[in-house]
Symmetry: C5
Subunit: 353 residues, 5 copies
């Protein structure tokens, strides 16, 4: 098994709430903040190594502060000071094993969700945590690992004015949408993998296939743990009348919600199919045992009586009249052929071969 069933937390139990502990891969490296500031007329892109370089917000502009790869505790603490974020929010940003959720604070919405990727070599689904803070004019996005998951959105912002005409809430929607769109690709890959497992099972039901099915069933458990809370998250974004989200953006959130429900439907179907494969495996093992038994039973049932007859005439009694008959040997061979043929015919009639 490649991954741990339960992720180790660095945090010592009993420490104060809001104590920042980093559970990611590369602690306390330098942070590379990407800043995009735009409105309908203009857009500018900046790379900052510290939030002290953050330029002041312009009126009528949207600011998007993006970070690829969590750098450790210090930059997150700085982020908290600059934007007055609650200590528990900072704690959740650094705890990369958090359940997807949305949390309304007086001045901002805090959203946690997961990017999911299928690794075809290890046949594993790996999750990358993404934290989002949505304010009046600002969106902050933190990605657990390096590599920008939102390249498509950056390109669309730079390429044309369409996306730039909407506010910060629409940008937040666009980031959620990009992640959910990726789930469809993931499900296709999972579906392909399951079909491949099914084919292997049909042609050669080895124990290796069983182990693969068992392993992938567990990967699907991870998928569930990520997608069901996301649905809850989106539904609460739609339901709660938070003023940070404008009515015209709600229509788009409803669209992502639709996609999420569709993904859940497909995911549960895949799970049912996987369970069906395990049942099929068990049944096919029973079937093959049955086949093996039939071969044994036919061989034994035919030859054991014949061997018994041969044994009789191998006995050394002095008085055994048949032994002296001219055609004794031929008669016995004929009798044996009759018995063997009769048993063969009997098994044929019972449908054993």
């Amino acid at each position: 098994m490649a991954g741990k069933l339960v992720r180790k937390k660095g945090k010592k139990a009993g420490s104060a709430p809001g104590t920042l502990v980093f559970s990611g891969a590369s602690p306390d490296a330098e942070a590379h903040w990407q800043l995009l500031q735009y409105n309908l007329d203009s857009i500018e892109q900046l790379n900052l190594s510290s939030l002290q370089q953050l330029p002041p917000a312009k009126p009528d502009s949207v600011r998007w502060l993006n970070l690829c790869g969590l750098p450790g505790i210090a930059p997150i603490e700085q982020l908290g000071q600059v934007f007055s974020l609650h200590p528990l929010v900072l704690e959740d940003m650094l705890n990369t094993d958090h359940r997807p959720k949305v949390e309304a604070h007086p001045d901002y919405l805090f959203v946690v969700f997961k990017m999911l990727r299928f690794h075809p070599d290890s046949r594993e689904i790996r999750a990358e945590q993404i934290s989002l803070v949505l304010m009046e004019q600002t969106v902050i996005s933190l990605q657990e690992t390096p590599g920008n998951d939102f390249d498509g959105v950056v390109q669309r912002l730079l390429a044309g004015r369409r996306l730039r005409g909407f506010g910060a809430d629409y940008l937040a929607y666009a980031l959620l949408d990009a992640v959910v769109d990726h789930y469809f690709i993931l499900l296709e890959q999972c579906g392909d993998h399951i079909e491949q497992l099914e084919n292997e099972l049909m042609t050669a039901p080895t124990t290796a296939v069983l182990a693969k099915i068992h392993h992938f069933k567990r990967e699907m458990l991870l998928l569930r743990k990520v997608v069901w809370p996301l649905r809850e998250l989106l539904s609460s974004l739609l339901r709660d009348e938070n003023p940070l989200i404008k009515p015209e953006t709600r229509i788009f959130l409803r669209d992502v919600y639709d996609h999420c429900v569709h993904i859940i439907d497909t995911m549960e179907t895949l799970r049912d199919v996987l369970s069906g494969l395990l049942d099929l495996y068990l049944t096919s093992v029973s079937n093959r045992t049955n086949e093996v038994m039939k071969v044994l039973t036919m061989m034994a049932s035919i030859f054991i009586p014949l061997t018994f007859i041969a044994g009789i005439y191998g006995m050394n009694f002095e008085v055994m009249p048949e032994l002296g008959w001219q055609y004794g040997y031929a008669l016995i061979l004929g009798l044996m052929a009759c018995i063997g043929g009769g048993l063969l015919w009997y098994f044929r009639r019972r449908g054993w071969w």
Copy 2:
């Protein structure tokens, strides 16, 4: 397995929401719009190759614009412009793998549902997506594949005045009703197929039957994914007090809702029966293994001891008094018959044959 578990989407993840992508079979062909405009007194039928040919709406008339077979992106974009539809609605019309749903927009209701057909040769259930837009006086219906699913409704409109006396909402109901009525036929076909599988299982429980049961269980999963959301859709049409649907039409929608609940009941029963068949198969394999074992055990238990006795008197010891007896051979044969008969009687008493 005939169909893919998860349908490939053409759309590149990360593209802008509302970007139209066509996932159907024949992209950018010419559209053949069918227009029916009617009131109690008159009805006229028109075929349009472009919506630019669309005549203006008459007061006190209902307009039904029907399209059989999605023609690609351009005609749908035109439709969106002519009727001022939201870009996300257009996107959903072209995405033919959408979950059934109803969506209330300020001026119209957008409904997505599925026509289902059972293909007896491949024993598959295939879905065709249908999109419906209901406006004050207009109904737009888009069918995924060629061939008009609503021929019956067209005939009733042309044949008599009854249906023409109601408004656009009743027409929308009539289209939903036509599709749900077809589900009953589908369930009958599924039921017949399952009974046939049951008969095959009873007469000859081969692995081919097992594969068929397994395959059809998966087809039923598709059915569920279509019918449960339809129930939700109809229930929300009934519950929400949308002014586009008149109270007298609600009684008819309640009737389709009843049918849908009945269909779900029957479908779940069929699923239970199918699951029961799999259990029955497994039990019957165990049973047959047990039968095979009994044959083997009886043959071996009877003849192995007898062969042992024959083996004893086949030994070549110089001093073996029995070998010289006059009736030694006859006595041993008699002993063997007693042992064999005794074992046969014992197995009979245990109910093995």
Copy 3:
């Protein structure tokens, strides 16, 4: 399997809603309406062959119009005209495969439910549909098949004044109560049948018993499809404040509701017991295979080594010193007895016999 899994509907899909189609056994026979008109002081009974003979309603009287055996379309159409019933109500009356439900119309309540009977010969549960219309002073009841299910209620009306002192709503309650009371009898019969199956399984677990359990499990599915919606029906009668049902009658409806919940409890228990029987069957087959294997293994393990020893001394080597010993034969027989006895003792100690 005696019955079809899914009932064929006569209706062509796509026909107009409210089109009357008869799915019963004897279409368009003559209708025999039974009319009972009563109040505290008097009661009169009439048989009508047509509703044109229906006498006018008397003030302060309750009218009960009862029909045993659906006669086909024409009399139901006449009923609709006389009492101004909605076409969809008439359609449901004739569709004898309807799900139990209650439907509130402005002037009447329309109720559909099922009489259930256990047929001991075919071990099947058969349903008869009953439709009820409750108006201010009138109750109409339609029974699918001939034979009056409400004989008891008729007798009580004729016999004494008690039941005649209540209104039409109490009469409707009495009809529902008569049907639900019959469910208790049905459950007793089902329980007896299941206990009998259990006894058969305990004494002789043949495949015939398995088929019977499997078959009855399916009959129980039918039971569920009828009883759960009935509970919903009764609960909605209790909850909705329909003026047609007086408060003092509600106490009685709560009593039927109690009975219905009790019936569901018992039914689910029976289903659990049936499922347990299937598990028990599978386990007992495994057990018996294990027993069979033990017999085979003991016979083979004891006699195969002995036969081998006999085989050794049946070899024809010229130099085999043991063959010439005086007590060689006796020694070998003793050795064989020791080996056989040792193996027997070993199997005994392992608890195999």
Copy 4:
């Protein structure tokens, strides 16, 4: 199986509602009413053979009328007349197979619940129905069978003033509490029985243990049918703002409710453990079959080839050079030892012994 799956009801289906029918054991015996009338200062105890002897109620006193063992119809009818109880309440009092419930009437609360006892000899759980009527100053309790389940409460009333300081509602609570307290004892006994079954299964997995597990699983079904409705009952007593129950008594009812939820938790755990035992049994049968097969396969695989070799040198061909060799016999015996030892070593390496 000791008890009937479904209890026979004496009542003829179709009889009038409120018709009193007695389903208990000893119909129409004489009733022995126990009357306790008390307030903080005094308490008096009376035995009445008829309710005509009932003394008038004293102001500021609580009256408790208790009956152990249902005497039949007549005394219950008398009770109904004296206290103006609804006929359906009387019917439910006599129907001793009723589901636990609470029913609010204008002047009183009617409560039905069950005393449960574990009979260690037959390993059965038996239920005794208890009906309770709570009025302003009066509590009536009817117990199905002789023997007072409320001896403890009587003792506490007679012993000290504590319980006498509360009203009739507290007395009703005390009776419910006494029954629920007894459920804890029952669960301990069930738990002990299940642990004993588990031990038997571990040491000797015979079919008798299987039958016991199967039987006790059914007893637990009865337990569920009694305890889940009791929880509903208590929750509705807590929720509904019935003036008969004072706020200070509600705190105590919440305590019984807590106990009931705890009992349900434990009960469901016991059910899970029982189901686990059945799975364990099935697995252990498979395991033992596997063990048996290994013994057979090793015996047969070792001795069948050896017997074949012996058979070769038992053939009577005239030209068989080995037979004349000086050490032929010894060589063949050595070869046999090698083959046998090699197979033994092979099976050892595969972990078969």
Copy 5:
């Protein structure tokens, strides 16, 4: 099985509610109360052997009264008198098998929950009950067993001013948080144990592993019984607008609630994995039986026919021409080699080895 399925209660059923009965380990020992009284500026720590030594409360200070190890009835009765607690609260404090719950009383909140620890030697999860009373300025915590579970919180109070700046409600939150943080450690240990079981199953699927899986599945049942009610408890603390809990503390309670939901997610995943292991075990037993059968069938199918042939030429008929042939023996040996090789090839082609 190490622990009892159902804990014995000391209390005699039927005793008065609020009767204090001690179900813990060391009844009526001396109590060692720990008192911490603090505000932002100062903190003092006191050890009391009796509550008579309790100093009066200071204004603007928080008092925390902690007890490690339940001492028996008398000190709890004293606690009840000093703080005017309801008798039922005292009863629940002493009943150490209580379900986690929160109970609002007019002047205080009463909370019951469990500390859980994994004991690696016996592979058991053991629970310690903790009772909490939250008043305006006071927190009382009772721990079932000696050893302070809240050492971390004590240290944080003594070490710095942060925690001392909040009120009694925040202290109560910090205690809940300390326990929930410990659950994460427990889940890691459970996860490690399950992975170890999985590895054992993969390398050597013995019955000992089966027993371990079965045993740990039961331990997980205990976990569920503790964690699901805790979620309910926290959710009701969040939902109910109790004035004892200030709005700024609610944000922190939401954080513990998040953790609890995360723990439930992980716990249910672990349960699914454990169930999967049992299925895997059953399948692997079937697989191994199949392997064993193949070995037996191949050995028997190859050697039984050969032995039969040898048996034929071991017969003593006087007229058996083959016996006199020069190359008879060689021919027969060649025939046997052909038959054996052919069967071997056949089994190879069927994939048996």
